[in-house]
Subunit: 295 residues, 2 copies
């Protein structure tokens, strides 16, 4: 099979796999209270690129973990991601009404139910991880908590809030994104890898360097697409960062330099995988996908 | 020492202890992003009765767990409780501006920062529990996730939302409160007990019956105090359930029957502790405290 086709098959298989896992761990659509169960399913299922689960599965392959041992980690990071999108879209935050090509959760279910759906999804993420087939589930929960909390995603979102209308240096902007999106992306890779054989210290550092570069590349491309893309292609409101006066890599660097930066980060991410040889293939392809994507 | 005095000393010691633990596990007030760290500390420290931590410590004494092994469980349940109060007070939920005798978190820090503070506190709760000195930390995380999620606290809050303006039978009302406040109270007792010797199945069931009755008693008394109390004594807005058209034990039963119901639940909670003899003393005193409290 040619490499592009093999990648597409791998990717599609894992995307279907995580969809099944998520559908199973989410509350049934008829579980009381029904509006909450439905809001949770609405916000998670049928949508999203599943980048974080793909990173977890790819990192699991690097450490020879069978996919069924990675399922809980892959689901947990996607549940945290989905909860963060619900809360980010609320009127008191980014006030966005379109997400993953459909009305945002609070538009469909009301603000209060959307808030609760996000809260319940975060709890579910930890529950799934704690009950997973992972050796060291407690350590995994601690890692996810750190990535989601004040030193990670929530902290990055707070910096983002405070930065509206101000200018950040590129270093400050990168620091913010390392928390806001980077922390959960790194956790996805680390949790997936933790499902298999133990890494040496040097290997763990290399993997972390990969995840840091890939995570930052993801954000740079996100900023480029926010300017270049349309709501139809993105499935979310385009141009909103600029409209909200948020500092982005495009406002900071300009469009051509932002594109170059993303390409350089792709090279950096791939280079970090060198110690792993062929075992890093899927992660390398994911770095390509992150940078070359159009949505 | 007479029993009342001994209880007051025990209670005061544990309240000071959990305050220290919480102050230590929360992000330092000068940790960036500072507004988020401060909002988290504001919502958790210097306030609250610390009923859930007290239940965890008392249940830990029942199983001979030293207090320092219970600390992480006690902190985790209080962090979940504090996050839920922040989110409940938001304008899109109960829209309340007074909490624990001071302006609600969103009044002090803005809605967006309050939302994030709640989110980060939930993550912190799981982090603290996962890193705690508890054998079976992963199982503890799974238990807390269940208590906080769609089958527990968040689910109960969703039922509560949907019930505004409608009438619930007493059974429906009790079912709602078993989720909304009862699940976390039961988790507090179970997590505290799990820090010590293993319980027999019969003992675990007895302890769960205690927690169920005590949790329901807490809610009935809350409804009574909402009618009888003042904002000054409660530290939160009085009369708000009635003002918001929420079904309560007082609207359902009337004030005298609600008081009687609380007294009966106190007897039920104490009776459930019979198998434990003297080891259940602190839990019995907590049931008294829950029913006889005036705030």
């Amino acid at each position: 099979m040619n490499p592009d086709l093999a990648w597409a098959v791998w990717c599609g298989e894992r995307q279907r796999r995580i969809e099944d896992v998520l559908a199973r761990v989410l509350p049934a659509a008829d579980l009381a209270p029904i509006p909450l169960s439905q809001a949770m399913r609405y916000a998670v299922l049928e949508g999203g690129k599943r980048m974080r689960p793909l990173l977890a599965y790819a990192a699991g392959e690097l450490t020879d973990a069978p996919a069924d041992r990675v399922d809980s980690a892959a689901a947990a990071v996607e549940l945290v991601h989905a909860y963060s999108l619900i809360h980010d879209d609320l009127p008191c935050m980014d006030d966005d009404s379109l997400r993953r090509g459909k009305p945002a959760c609070h538009v469909a279910f009301g603000e209060a139910m959307a808030l609760l759906a996000g809260d319940a999804l975060q709890a579910l993420a930890f529950g799934v991880l704690a009950e997973g087939r992972l050796a060291g589930a407690a350590r995994a929960c601690a890692l996810l908590a750190d990535a989601a909390g004040v030193r990670g995603m929530a902290g990055g979102q707070a910096v983002d809030l405070s930065s509206v209308g101000s200018t950040l240096s590129q270093l400050e902007l990168e620091a913010m994104h390392r928390m806001k999106t980077g922390a959960l992306i790194r956790a996805s890779v680390r949790l997936g890898a933790a499902c298999g054989r133990q890494l040496t210290g040097a290997e763990a550092a290399a993997l972390d360097a990969y995840a840091g570069a890939a995570g930052l590349a993801f954000q740079v491309v996100d900023d480029v697409l926010d300017v270049e893309g349309s709501a139809a292609s993105l499935g979310k409101t385009a141009g909103k960062d600029v409209a909200q006066g948020k500092p982005t890599f495009v406002t900071g660097l300009g469009l051509p330099a932002a594109r170059k930066h993303a390409a350089a980060l792709r090279v950096e991410a791939r280079a970090a995988l060198a110690p792993f040889g062929g075992a890093g293939r899927r992660l390398a392809e994911l770095a390509d996908w992150i940078v070359l994507r159009t949505r």
